[in-house]
C-alpha cells in the first residue's frame, strides 16, 4: 500500500529552485550549478523517501540541472573554435536559459503575492445586493433591455452572488471537527514500536488511508524523532526507512 500525501510547499521545480537560491544566498545571475543541483536532488530524494507525490516536472528539472552541470564541466574551447574576440562574447553560458526562466517566473510569483494582498484587502469590504426596484418601475414593465450578455457575464454574476456575504444570525453551533491529537498518535506509535521490540517499516506506520490521519501520524513521528524517542534508519537513498523505539533495555542502537 502506498499513501500519497501531496504537499504544496512548492508550486513546481522553478519555485523550489528559487527557494534554494534564496536560502543559499546565491546570486541568481551566477548560480553555482553543482551546489544547487546537489541541494535540489536532496530535496527530491527526501520527498521520495517519504513517499510523497512528486510531480514529473520536478524530475525533468533534475535532468536539466544535471545536463547543465555536465556542460559546465566541459573544457572551454572558445579559443580553438572562435578565433576572433567578438564571438567569444556570444559564447553561451549553459545556465542562461534557466536563469531567464527563473527571473521570469519570479516576476509572476511576486505579482501573485500582490494579488493575494489585494484579495485580503477587498475581503474587508462588504457590499449589499441591488435593491428590488420593482416599485419604481412603471407598472412592472419588463426591463427594456437587450440581451447583450455572454455566458461569462452570467457566471460572473453568479460568482458575485456566491461571494456576497450575507449578514445573518451568528451561527450558534458549529460542528467541531473531530481532531486526532498528535499527542495521542505519538503514544500509539511509541507503544506499537515498544511492543514490537524491533524496527518497523516507515510506511507501515500509516495504517489508514485517511488524509488527516496520515498528516497527524507524520507529525507525530517527527515529534518523536525530535524528542529522541524513536530512531530512523535508512541504508541509502531510495531505500526503505525503518523506525524503532529508542532505548528500552538495550542501549539505543545508533543510527548515525
Amino acid at each position: 500500500m502506498q499513501y500519497n500525501v501531496k504537499i504544496d510547499a512548492f508550486e513546481g521545480p522553478l519555485d523550489l529552485l528559487l527557494h534554494l537560491i534564496n536560502r543559499l544566498e546565491i546570486d541568481i545571475y551566477d548560480i553555482p550549478v553543482a551546489e544547487i543541483t546537489g541541494q535540489y536532488l536532496i530535496y527530491i530524494h527526501t520527498m521520495k523517501e517519504l513517499k510523497l507525490d512528486i510531480a514529473s516536472e520536478f524530475l525533468v528539472m533534475a535532468a536539466t540541472l544535471l545536463a547543465i552541470k555536465s556542460k559546465m564541466l566541459l573544457p572551454k574551447h572558445e579559443e580553438n573554435i572562435h578565433e576572433d574576440a567578438e564571438n567569444i562574447q556570444f559564447e553561451e553560458d549553459p545556465r542562461d536559459e534557466l536563469v531567464e526562466r527563473l527571473i521570469e517566473y519570479r516576476k509572476y510569483k511576486e505579482a501573485a503575492h500582490d494579488l493575494k494582498t489585494l484579495e485580503e484587502e477587498r475581503g474587508l469590504m462588504y457590499t449589499k445586493p441591488p435593491s428590488d426596484l420593482s416599485d419604481f418601475a412603471k407598472e412592472l414593465q419588463p426591463e427594456k433591455v437587450e440581451m447583450n450578455v455572454s455566458l461569462y457575464d452570467m457566471l460572473g454574476a453568479f460568482q458575485k452572488l456566491l461571494r456576497r456575504k450575507k449578514l445573518q444570525k451568528p451561527m450558534a453551533t458549529k460542528i467541531a471537527r473531530q481532531e486526532i491529537s498528535i499527542e495521542k498518535r505519538m503514544t500509539e506509535i511509541l507503544l506499537e514500536l515498544k511492543n514490537l521490540r524491533r524496527r518497523k517499516s516507515f510506511t507501515e506506520l500509516f495504517p489508514y488511508p485517511d488524509k488527516e490521519h496520515i498528516v497527524v501520524t507524520f507529525l507525530a513521528i517527527l515529534e518523536l524523532i525530535k524528542r529522541k524517542e524513536i530512531d530512523v534508519e535508512q541504508q541509502g537513498n531510495f531505500e526503505e526507512i525503518f523506525v524503532e523505539a529508542v532505548g528500552e533495555g538495550a542501549e539505543s542502537v545508533g543510527t548515525y
Partner: protein
C-alpha cells in the same frame, strides 16, 4: 472637527467609542441589506447592551433624517432595522430604472438566470432565499426574453411555480445542452484541500517551534 471630538473624549470610554459605534452600525445595517437586523443581533455584534444600541440607533436615525445631504434613512420593519432610500429621491430611482443606459441585462437578472440554470426546477421563494432580495422583476424580464419558463408546480401547500431554462436560453449562450454549462467550483473539495494543507503546516510549525 475630528480633533475636537477626540480631545473631548476624556471621561470614560463613551465619547470616542460612540463615534465609532455609529460608523459600525451604519456598516452593519448597510451590509444586512433588505433583511435588516434585530436589536439583539446588533447588540451581539457590538457587544453592548440593547438599551445603548437603541440610543445609538436613535441618534443615527436623527442624523440621517435631518441631514439634507444624506440619501438613506433607517426604517423599522417587522422587528428589524434596515436602511432605505429617502422617499423624496424616488423620482430619480424611477429614472434610473427606466434609463436607456441600462442596455444590458442587469446583474439581478443575470444572477437569477444563473440560479435557475444551475438549480432548476426552482421556485421563486427559493431563488429569493439565495439572493436575499425580492426577485419578481428579474423573473419578469427573463420570462419576457424567453430565457426561462414555468416548469410545473412545486409540491406542498403553496403549489408555487417552478422555473426552468428554455431552449432559447441554450441557443442564446451557444450550448447544446445543460450539461455544457461550465461546472461550478467544487467548493467543498477545494476547501478540504486547503484546510488539509493549512493543518499540515500549522501542525508542522507548532511541532518544531515549540
Amino acid at each position: 472637527m475630528k480633533k475636537f471630538l477626540s480631545k473631548q473624549s476624556g471621561k470614560g470610554p463613551n465619547r470616542l467609542e460612540l463615534i465609532k459605534w455609529k460608523s459600525i452600525l451604519e456598516s452593519l445595517l448597510f451590509a444586512a441589506g433588505d433583511e435588516g437586523l434585530t436589536l439583539k443581533q446588533i447588540s451581539e455584534a457590538l457587544e453592548i447592551e440593547i438599551s445603548i444600541v437603541e440610543s445609538i440607533l436613535e441618534e443615527l436615525k436623527q442624523e440621517m433624517d435631518n441631514d439634507l445631504n444624506r440619501g438613506i434613512i433607517i426604517v423599522q420593519l417587522a422587528g428589524t432595522y434596515q436602511l432605505a432610500t429617502k422617499k423624496e429621491n424616488a423620482p430619480y430611482l424611477k429614472k434610473l430604472v427606466d434609463s436607456p443606459g441600462n442596455t444590458t441585462l442587469s446583474q439581478a437578472a443575470l444572477e437569477t438566470l444563473a440560479i435557475i440554470a444551475y438549480r432548476q426546477p426552482i421556485t421563486r421563494a427559493e431563488i429569493e432565499e439565495i439572493r436575499g432580495v425580492k426577485t419578481e422583476r428579474p423573473l419578469h424580464t427573463l420570462m419576457s426574453k424567453a430565457m426561462i419558463k414555468e416548469a410545473g408546480r412545486a409540491e406542498g401547500t403553496g403549489r408555487a411555480y417552478l422555473y426552468g431554462t428554455t431552449k432559447e436560453f441554450l441557443d442564446y449562450f451557444g450550448l447544446k445542452s445543460l450539461d455544457e454549462l461550465p461546472p461550478l467550483p467544487d467548493r467543498v473539495e477545494e476547501e478540504y484541500m486547503q484546510e488539509e494543507a493549512d493543518l499540515f503546516f500549522d501542525k508542522f510549525q507548532e511541532t518544531f517551534n515549540s
